[in-house]
Amino acid sequence: MAGTKKLIDENGIRLDGRKWNELRPIKLQVGVMKNADGSAYIEWGKNKIMAAVYGPKEVHPKHQVLPDRALLRCRYHMAPFSVDERKNPAPSRREIEISKVIREALVSAVIVEDYPRTAIEVWVEVLQSDGGSRVAGITAASLALADAGINMRDLVVGCSCGLIGEQVVSDLDDTEDKEGNGDMPVAIMPNLGLVSLLQVDGVYTRENFQKAFELAIEKGKQIYQMQREALTTRFFGGEAQSTEVEEAAE
């Protein structure tokens, strides 16, 4: 339930000055780590997240080998200093669940059949967290997979929408996530038009559910353009440099 703070004013402006359907600033950078086969760094609002990919590589322990495809491993982890109160570095149940849904969101995009008997590892490290860190992590991780030269059917891009009162809003930040009335992270494969991650909490009327879901897809497609530009910069734009994309005026 909403707290005492007013998350959205009478003119429909949110605490950080955004309209209901605007994104926070997003900055993407591809190929930023030396050792990793692929990597990407994302800043999304106050989120600062690094994703790195190793592989295809030998599978250890060997009993986990899949004879017909690659094993995709994924770990989403939050640094102890990434949140207000120090977080225990051991993986929490929340992180284990998020690692699972991120893996499931990415694995349908990776052509795992091209790499039998190998492992592909995706490490997502949240250095500073704001709302929507799992979708930011997915957005960066799919760029890191592409940077590693892993065959993919499509990129995966995520965006979270939700509710403040009965108002559907895009891209919740930390305060809106905690004090708002619902959060709906969605990840899509934009060219294939498929949803690879969907989680919902909060109380949505059927109408608001559809509105938030469709808004998340629309925003995801917008972020996909930023992913494309970041990849273009990485491979055709000389030195890796950050690509800042301003949101098109609504």
Binding site: R94, V101, S108, M189, V195, V200, V203, R206, F213
Partner: protein, 269 residues
């Protein structure tokens, strides 16, 4: 869940997909028909509330234990609710003893989310001394036999156990919370109902059994409340779903959930 090693089930997928094309399932159910649901409450008298739920051959036992606790700093005047689930090693040849698996953690968290987000229990009525003492409600679920769709069976068990749970009424004396002998119900406001739908090929089926789970491409669990609102959802498994099928699944969850809610209310009133 626990689909690995189901070699035989994987071989049956082809036939399953053929049958589904003509609107039929291997066990004869309609695509939107859940299995037989049986709810028995009060099975563990030492618990504050309990329910034994069978959904087909899936068997879940939920027990409620209520105690006083220290509130979380951000909600000093609200009670504590925790839902947990454990897949017992006895539940299936594929289950193992040891720390909870990823599947078990997901199951517990998704079940908890459905109960919490629907605001089933009025947490403001569980406060005792602001910032110091509140009522803590723990619901633990034992998964005893696995035959698919643990998400729904567990959720129905939790809802049934909570709806029939009794707790001591507490009074505050000298800045201390003291239990009286009077037993009162847990302040339950809503009846969240979880409906899990599997995609096998391009068809959506409600309440997949183990055999269907072994063949499913994608799973989505959607929880609705008494007013047809959607209050929690989780997509699972390695494949995807189209936006149209998400909305179709939402409508199915609302309509199927309504019938299941009536059954739960009947068994727990």
């Amino acid at each position: 869940m626990m689909k690995k090693n189901h070699v035989v089930e994987s071989i049956t997928k082809e036939r399953m997909v053929q049958l589904l094309a003509s609107g039929k399932r291997l066990d004869g159910r309609a695509l939107d028909q859940p299995r037989n649901l049986n709810i028995e409450t009060g099975v563990i008298p030492k618990a504050n509330g309990s329910a034994r739920v069978t959904l087909g051959n899936t068997l879940v036992l939920a027990g409620v234990k209520i105690a006083t606790g220290i509130p979380f700093p951000d909600t000093p005047d609200k009670g504590i609710l925790m839902v947990n689930a454990e897949i017992l090693p006895m539940s299936s040849p594929y289950a193992e003893a040891g720390p909870p698996s990823e599947d078990a953690i997901e199951l517990a968290r998704v079940t908890d989310r459905g109960i919490r987000e629907s605001e089933m229990v009025d947490m403001t009525k569980l406060g005792l001394i602001p910032g110091k003492s509140v009522i803590a409600v723990f619901v633990d679920c034992n998964i005893m036999n696995v035959d698919g769709n643990l998400f729904d069976a567990t959720s129905y068990a939790v809802v049934s156990a909570l709806r029939t749970a009794k707790m001591n009424r507490y009074v505050v004396k000298d800045d201390k919370a003291v239990a009286t002998d009077e037993l009162i119900p847990v302040p339950v406001e809503r009846t969240p109902v979880s409906v899990t739908i599997a995609r096998i090929g391009d068809k959506l089926v409600v309440d997949p059994n183990s055999e269907e789970e072994a063949s499913m491409d994608m799973r989505i669990t959607i929880t609705t409340d008494d007013y047809g609102n959607i209050c929690a959802s989780q997509k699972g498994e390695a494949s995807t779903i189209s936006p149209e099928q998400v909305l179709q699944a939402a409508d199915t969850s609302i309509s199927v959930g309504k019938a299941i809610r009536a059954k739960i209310l009947e068994a727990t009133s």
